[in-house]
């Protein structure tokens, strides 16, 4: 057992110290962040030329004036308003379905509904579509909060001088938001799923590729022989799997930390739902399974050229869920999506995307998790049977 940890430690520290790894570790999140943030910046510039229409239904009838004031005050550098408030009235409103349809058809970017309630935290709902980016959503929430605070303060018996001294920004309530992007697909959930699949693919491809090359080197310079005369083949295999898993996990932890830092710095929402938890779970199990498959494949590599070929094939398979992302999201029950779900190298990524599309149950999560464990056990059993022999092929 000790030997497994010695091997894992060696594999981990030998690879984590590489300059190429450190550069990759730091540059990849910048690239990823740019990939996501750049389109938002572009869309922001486009939007700034045309004010976004935002519908408003005030069932309480108390907030229209303050909200209108906030919308009028919110102008860009050219004194153009960022949003246009369309008031659909207040009590006894009919035709709500027509308004929701306007939102679906993107005639509106968002719809604010304020219901009658004694608890202000529970009575505001903002529904929005893809015309609104996350930064604009945050701006909208800020304006709603400020307007509602002003209304509540004006209802109090405070003197005018005291009222003017109170900053209405200081009270911030949680506003329920509902994304209607892609016919009900939660945009944030989708983005998280996409980022997770990107993480899983790139971590596997980078780490797996590195290990396949090092295994090929160990075979050609007879290090594999020395290792096999020092430890049992099973210990060597498990040590390598553990080392590679820790190596991959390091990338995940560093990128996760950078991600949270960016989210906080840019004021992005970070509500962690049950979906997020499941996606994280499959991200970790996916990494574990994929690295095991890479080591298994790597043990059969005969030369440097051969290692590049095998790495290429595995990379194509790993990227399949990203290539067919639209199909997986739109048709989670199709035969092809099912194939990707049950194919070991693509299963974790496909499951993560299926969770993003909202098509999952607790039972299916447990089933998929069991599947990941089963694949891991089968891969280890098959590999351990041939590992020693394949390492000696030379």
């Amino acid at each position: 057992m000790n030997n497994i940890f010695h091997i894992a430690g060696w594999e981990y520290f030998q690879k984590v110290k590489r300059i190429s790894f450190i550069l990759y570790l730091l540059l990849f999140p910048l690239f990823g962040f740019g990939l996501i943030y750049f389109p938002q910046l572009l869309s922001k510039n486009e939007v700034s030329q045309t004010p976004l229409p935002v519908g408003f239904i005030d069932y309480s009838g108390e907030h229209i004036n303050n909200l209108k004031h906030e919308f009028d005050s919110n102008v860009d550098d050219n004194f153009q308003p960022e949003f246009i408030l369309i008031n659909f009235g207040s009590k006894n409103l009919s035709g709500i379905n027509d308004i929701v349809e306007m939102l679906d058809n993107q005639d509106l970017a968002a719809l604010i509904q304020i219901f009658e309630s004694n608890i202000p935290s529970n009575n505001i709902v903002v529904s929005y579509n893809s015309l609104l980016n996350s930064e604009e959503l945050i701006q909208l929430e800020f304006m709603i909060n400020k307007a509602v605070n002003k209304s509540l303060l004006s209802k109090s018996n405070l003197s005018d001088s005291l009222l003017s001294a109170i900053n209405p920004n200081i009270i911030s309530r949680k506003i329920k938001t509902t994304s209607l992007v892609n016919n009900g697909l939660n945009m944030i959930q989708f983005t998280i799923g996409l980022i997770f699949v990107l993480f899983l693919s790139s971590i596997t491809i980078f780490s797996g590729g590195l290990f396949i090359r090092s295994l090929s080197e160990e075979k050609t310079n007879r290090l594999a022989e020395i290792l096999l005369t020092s430890v049992k083949a099973g210990e060597l295999l498990m040590g390598k799997i553990l080392g590679l898993f820790l190596f991959a996990l390091t990338q995940l932890i560093v990128w996760g930390a950078i991600g949270f830092f960016i989210m906080n710095e840019f004021g992005m929402k970070n509500d962690f739902s049950l979906e997020f938890f499941y996606q994280t779970l499959f991200l970790v199990t996916g990494i574990f399974l994929n690295v095991t498959i890479f080591i298994s494949a790597g043990s059969f590599v005969k030369s440097e050229q051969n290692s590049q070929q095998i790495n290429g094939y595995l990379t194509i398979l790993i990227l399949l869920p990203l290539i067919f992302i639209a199909h997986i999201i739109n048709e989670p029950g199709s035969l092809f999506t099912s194939f990707l779900t049950f194919f070991p190298l693509t299963s974790a990524s496909t499951i993560i995307l299926k969770i993003s599309s909202g098509t999952f149950t607790i039972t299916s999560v447990v089933l998929y998790l069991g599947l990941q464990v089963l694949y891991f056990i089968v891969t280890v059993l098959i590999t351990s049977k041939y590992f020693k022999r394949s390492l000696l092929i030379n």
Partner: protein, 294 residues
Amino acid sequence: MIKFQHISKSFKKIKALDDISVDIEAGNIVGVLGPNGAGKTTLLRILLKLINPDSGEVLYPQTLKSNFHNNIGYLPEEKGLYKNSKVMDFLKYFSKLKGLTSQEFYYYSQPLIEKLNLNRYLDQNIGTLSKGNQQKVQLLSTIVHNPMLLILDEPFTGLDIVNLEIVNNIIKSLRSPDRIILLSTHLIDFAEILCDRVIFLNNGKLIRDAAVTELKNDLEFYQYEILTKDDFDFFDVPNVNDFIKIDDGYKININNKNDISGIIKFLAETITIDEVKKVEPTIKDIFLRDISNK
């Protein structure tokens, strides 16, 4: 004692080892000699349990069997080294795999590091060292845990004359009553100096297994040097088994020492002979003769 009992091994249609039976006693350095493709590596791999024989078995002493991985040291012909790691890290890693604690590692490695003059390279990357120093690092990692079974495949590769002597002395110092050392080398002169016993393999067959001293006492041929400046074809000379050209003449092998006078008479009619010397055959001569005969 390790016993090879009727070991045979084939790879596809090629017979790598053919019914090899040999006993190897502790306390000896045994040379495993043979031309390329003779089956040396296959024999060593079977001994190391890296591959299984098709038939036959290897019997190990109980002490070795009980903790096999920690009791063997294997130096392969190619450099089994991590080129990007530091010398000290590499040595520590393999000592850990061989079951040494950090204290034991420092205790056993320090004298060897000094003997091999590796002190100043400990913090360097292995890839930056010369071939000779890499070989010394490899040797150190093979012997640091005092293995009971030591297998050295071409231990002198890449060494200059000074380091050849250092490694030679270290191997000699490793001889101990409870240790089995197998040495495979193409430097047969070194095998002659170091080995107590030699095993000759050719085409997967064991063609000779004898103590070095017995080998010379039990010669089946005699060797002479005929010193001459003339060129001559010895194929036509009666009773000469084989011959090789040397710097100042020819070296011939004959079966019967009484034949030499007749051979000299025959040669004297054709060429000018400067001198005739009886020489002691080396292991190399015996080896070459065995190979050509079989």
